[in-house]
């Protein structure tokens, strides 16, 4: 009788031991462990180093940018022609989205619902965003950014796998999107108040919650990628 008790106790503990062993086995053989700890550690370190490098480099870019600004200022203060050119350059920069800009406008937040209603979770499609951008431009928006990505002439908004790619940055379509636009806040918001407009369509058909707030001062960051032209030549 006493012997049976020993064996049952040990047997019970052995069940737990077996459970641990097999779970560990499974996780060792699963794909996740294809890379050894060492390898993962190395990769993490690499990411850290690269991130630091990137931060350093962007700090340097800022530094050089301020130097360029200084030089431009000093040159333009000396010479009338240079002064005019500088003004033109500044205007062009603003136009092409290469400067941070501020002004009154609206902030739109698109929140896909993840309540499990009739057809489960909803997601944002790139076409929804394009429609909104179109509407904003039609309402006279002067600068637009989507999730802090400045909308410029070469901005793409398209689905890339499961994500939405904007200015080569990927965003999850089930996360909220924030669209900022500078312009007359009333006109911009009015563009979405039309019955049967995009806002209604998104809210009723696509199940996306759209919130629009008028803001007196929004800051929209500049386009932060390098623009390079390979094929075009200037014509007259």
């Amino acid at each position: 009788m006493k012997k049976l008790k020993y064996q049952l106790t040990i047997g019970l503990v052995c069940i737990i031991l077996g459970l641990m062993i097999s779970l560990q086995f499974k996780s060792t053989y699963s794909n996740r462990s294809k890379y050894s700890y060492k390898r993962i550690e190395d990769l993490v370190n690499e990411v850290e180093t690269l991130r630091k490098q990137r931060d350093d480099l962007s700090a340097k870019v800022k530094e050089y940018q301020s130097k360029v600004d200084e030089i431009e200022k000093s040159v333009s203060s000396e010479n009338e022609v240079a002064n005019q050119m500088k003004t033109e350059l500044d205007n062009l920069r603003v136009l092409s989205g290469l400067t941070d800009v501020e002004g009154p406008g609206i902030i739109m937040t698109l929140t896909p619902s993840n309540e499990i209603k009739n057809d489960g979770t909803t997601m944002i499609y790139s076409t929804d965003i394009i429609d909104i951008i179109n509407e904003l431009n039609a309402a006279g928006a002067e600068a637009i950014s989507i999730n802090e990505q400045r909308y410029v002439g070469s901005t793409q908004i398209k689905e890339a796998g499961a994500a939405i790619k904007i200015n080569d940055e990927k965003f999850s379509p089930i996360e909220p999107f924030t669209i900022k636009a500078i312009g007359d806040p009333k006109i911009l918001e009015g563009a979405f108040k039309m019955p049967g407009g995009i806002k209604d369509k998104l809210e009723e058909l696509a199940g996306i919650n759209v919130k629009i707030t008028q803001v007196q001062n929004i800051k929209i960051l500049k386009y932060n990628k390098n623009i390079q032209y390979k094929f075009i030549k200037t014509g007259r």
Partner: protein
Amino acid sequence: MIPLIGLIIGILIGLFLKVDIPASLTSYVPVAILAALDSVFGGLRAALENKFDSEIFISGFFGNIVLAAGLTYLGDQLNVPIYLAAVLVFGSRLFNNFAIIRRKLIEKGRDRIINREE
């Protein structure tokens, strides 16, 4: 016999259970397994020596697991491979216990043969 069956049942449950150990814990489980293995061997040995006490056994089992995992965690935080201590101690104890179990079993077997001959 029952411990073996228990072990097999545990392995089967583990295989069919759709539970994955979170990646952050994968370094602790091996040490915990070693601790558990040590306890089980210790228990078997005690049973052979007729000194088995289920309270001591169960508390030792869970205590060792927690301590081993805790030491590993501490080592991770301090960047010192403390888990090596656990591996070393449990490993050597495992061999020790196994040697004693083997001796006991052989002695038992011999006694039985001698009894039969008499």
